[in-house]
């Protein structure tokens, strides 16, 4: 079979081949144009030479299967795939932005810059995981940033799709990945846990913020396996001014046991975007590696690998949602506050990985400059935070699972919606007043949120009886709550 038709000036299935922009051991990449398609495109073709790595071909098969099934701004848009019997290729959108690879020349980078980039990648990973894919090769050369800011993950040759046959897993005994970034469970041959990508991102952030790779660049399997028991120096050992919150996040990503990392990419992004909400544990303050004897014990303990709890893509998304509860502080002790709390408790009971953000909107006039102090001279913002915590106290949520935010904005619904979008909230829970006199007058906040929310919204109400004791209940819904999908 003659596969060598891809040369500049040639036409393959209507695509005119332009400049070659990459030539590696696994694939070659060309710029292409098409008379009917008006966007910058790339054609990727596998290297099929005699003696080529068989993984190149299988990886290409995987990418041909996975890429067409992915959507959204965090992946290159799929255009066309070429049949293996004629000429295998993939044509995809050429991402106009830049790859992260050149950043390596400027390490270490400022913490804020690394955290902001990390948050973007975490959001991209979350989107990928929700589409049933674990990337398994997260590294600077596979991450690009669009001019609009979103991170894009490229190269799905080593990826795993939990609804498609995993050709890589079946065909190769050795773990495939990139040595410095590979998660311990991936080294052990597990390819289905989305949190493996979080580990790789942790390595990347560690590397970018300290200039040092936490696990070096081992060339043998034995060297790769070392990360199962050998803990890297905490970033604070390398840079004494390393922020506690950032060390906390990075070391949590680098946990050997995936179950101790963040439940989802969205939750990791949430922490990176809200440093003041990060719950600091012993991880944040460590200044040196574990004692030699501890490391040695781990090295020779069978538990080290046995206790690793591997997850799957399927079990992942649903277990770690971000739930925003919008609380009207004028009613922190009434029946509605109680009903709202009960609804949240019921949701959390079934979702041990869920994270709760308690929100209140401090209304600000558009024209008048509000004073931040109330009549008695107290700071309104602080007062609201105190009240939010008071509302949540009976839920007995452990620290680190719950955060409190007072949003200052002129419009309540818009503020809640903006927060939900920015923080990738999965579920908004809020109360609606039983009495509708104000609602009729001002419009319903819950109604507006339910209509425009990017996620599920549960509107909680106290049960009313049919007697029109409030004067307007006859035609109202009488359920305790309902969910808007």
């Amino acid at each position: 079979m003659n596969y060598r038709r891809i040369i500049p000036g040639a036409t393959v299935d209507g695509f005119l081949i332009g400049k070659q922009i990459h030539s590696g051991g696994m694939a070659t990449i060309w710029e292409v144009t098409h008379p009917e398609l008006n966007l910058p495109m790339l054609m990727k073709a596998p290297v099929l030479d005699e003696g080529a790595d068989p993984a190149a071909i299988v990886g290409f098969e995987m990418e041909q299967m996975i890429l067409p099934r992915l959507a959204g701004p965090h992946v290159p848009k799929f255009i066309e795939a070429g049949n293996f019997m004629v000429q295998p290729y993939i044509v995809m959108e050429q991402i106009p932005g830049a790859a992260l690879l050149p950043w390596l020349d400027h390490l270490p980078l400022p913490y804020g810059e690394v955290a902001a980039m990390g948050a973007k990648v975490a959001v991209a990973l979350d989107s990928l995981h929700r589409q049933h894919v674990v990337h398994l090769d997260v590294k600077p050369s596979n991450i690009m940033l669009r001019p609009t800011g979103e991170a894009v993950l490229i190269d799905y040759g080593l990826s795993h799709h939990d609804e498609l046959p995993d050709l890589m897993a079946e065909q190769f005994r050795l773990p495939y990945g990139t040595a410095p970034y590979m998660a311990p469970e991936q080294v052990m041959g597990h390819r289905g846990d989305p949190r493996s990508d979080q580990f790789a991102l942790g390595v990347l952030m560690y590397f970018f913020a300290t200039g040092t790779r936490p696990f070096g660049d081992p060339q043998r399997l034995s060297g790769l396996k070392r990360r199962l028991w050998w803990d890297p120096p905490p970033p604070r050992a390398l840079r004494s001014d390393f922020p506690l919150w950032f060390q906390e996040i990075i070391l949590r990503c680098l946990e050997v046991n995936p179950a101790w990392r963040y439940p989802t990419g969205a939750q990791l992004a949430f922490e990176l975007m809200n440093p003041d909400q990060v719950k600091l544990t012993g991880r944040s303050e460590r200044l040196k590696r574990d004692a030699f004897t501890t490391v040695l014990k781990r090295r020779f303990s069978e538990d080290t690998t046995a206790s690793v709890q591997i997850g799957t893509v399927a079990s992942f998304g649903a277990s770690g949602p971000i739930i925003a509860v919008a609380i009207d502080l004028s009613e922190t002790s009434g029946p509605l506050a109680e009903a709202l709390r009960m609804t949240v408790a019921q949701i959390l009971a079934s979702l041990p990985g869920a994270r709760v953000a308690c929100l209140n909107v401090l209304k600000q006039g558009v024209i008048t400059l509000d004073t931040t102090l109330d009549e008695e001279g107290r700071n309104k913002h602080v007062q609201r935070l105190v009240e939010l915590k008071h509302w949540a106290e009976p839920l007995k949520l452990e620290e680190g699972r719950v955060s409190f935010q007072v949003l200052e904005a002129p419009q309540t619904a818009a503020a809640i919606l903006r927060y939900a979008r920015a923080n990738f909230v999965d579920h908004i829970v809020m109360g609606a007043r039983a009495s509708s006199a104000r609602r009729t007058l001002l419009g319903s906040v819950s109604g507006e949120v339910a209509t425009h929310a990017p996620c599920t919204v549960t509107v909680v109400r106290t049960r009313r009886h049919h007697r029109t004791e409030y004067g307007d209940g006859a035609n109202e819904k009488s359920e305790d709550s309902w969910t808007v999908g």
Binding site: M65, F84, L167, Q171
Partner: protein, 246 residues
């Protein structure tokens, strides 16, 4: 072209009706029936009649072990199946019997091979239920893709030229590409008696242009089917297992 693949109907009228309706709605241009139209269920006459009708209009139909057992008394079946078979024999007319007896053991169509159970030998009804069995089956023939039923549990196997085999449990509604650099064996779920824990009727759609197979699940009125099995005096276990899909 979209080909509907339906195996192991087992005299379940409600399940077959639901799958035929679903396939029509999704634009299937052809149907291949992969055998076992009778046995277990209470509607053998209606089901065989329906299959004959479709074959007269261009569908293909293979012989299954239960169809063979209608006339071949030597074929061994489990106790429940034996009981249901005795009941079935008493109901089928001569036209249906002749139709079943004349069905082919395998059908080849371009690069595709359809069989009921296994490809190696005729009238020995082996189960392809693991990688070894799949490897043996794929070694026996050179077809690019083999489709079979008989196991009642959906599975896909793919083998490379160097004998590396991938096995996979297909997910409903997700198209699986059958890429040309491998040879494939697709085991279909059962229309009329699923055994993978999901009671809904199972069939698949093969897109020959895209070379993709999509396994589908179709809900049907299981209680109506169960009532008929009970009223016919067939073993209770045959009714019960439909509800559980086991």
């Amino acid at each position: 072209m979209l080909i509907a693949l339906m195996a192991d109907i087992h005299a379940n009228r409600e399940a077959l009706e639901a799958c035929l309706r679903d396939a029509k709605g999704k634009g299937a241009a052809k149907i291949v029936f992969l055998g076992d139209y009778v046995g277990y269920g209470a509607d053998p006459v209606w089901v065989v009649d329906r299959v004959m009708d479709h074959v007269a209009r261009g569908a293909s139909a293979l012989m299954g072990n239960h169809d063979n057992a209608v006339s071949d008394l030597r074929d061994s079946l489990t106790a429940d199946a034996q009981m249901a078979m005795a009941w079935t024999r008493g109901r089928l007319g001569s036209e249906a019997r002749e139709f079943l007896a004349g069905l082919p053991m395998r059908i080849e169509d371009e690069t595709r091979l359809y069989v009921h159970a296994n490809v190696q030998t005729d009238r020995r009804w082996l189960y392809i239920d693991d990688r070894n069995a799949a490897t043996r089956a794929l070694h026996a023939r050179q077809a690019q893709a083999v489709f079979c039923g008989h196991v009642h549990i959906p599975a896909i196997y793919g083998i490379t030229a160097t004998d590396k085999i991938v096995s996979f449990k297909p997910v409903s509604d997700v198209p699986v590409p059958l890429s040309p650099q491998r040879r494939w064996l697709a085991v279909l779920g059962a229309v009329g008696q699923p055994r993978d824990g999901n009671p809904s009727a199972s069939y698949a759609l093969l897109d020959t242009k895209k070379s993709e197979i999509t396994y589908l699940r179709v809900p049907y009125d299981i209680e109506a089917t169960i009532l008929k099995i009970r009223n016919a005096g067939l073993p209770e276990s045959l009714a019960d297992r439909l509800r559980k899909g086991q």
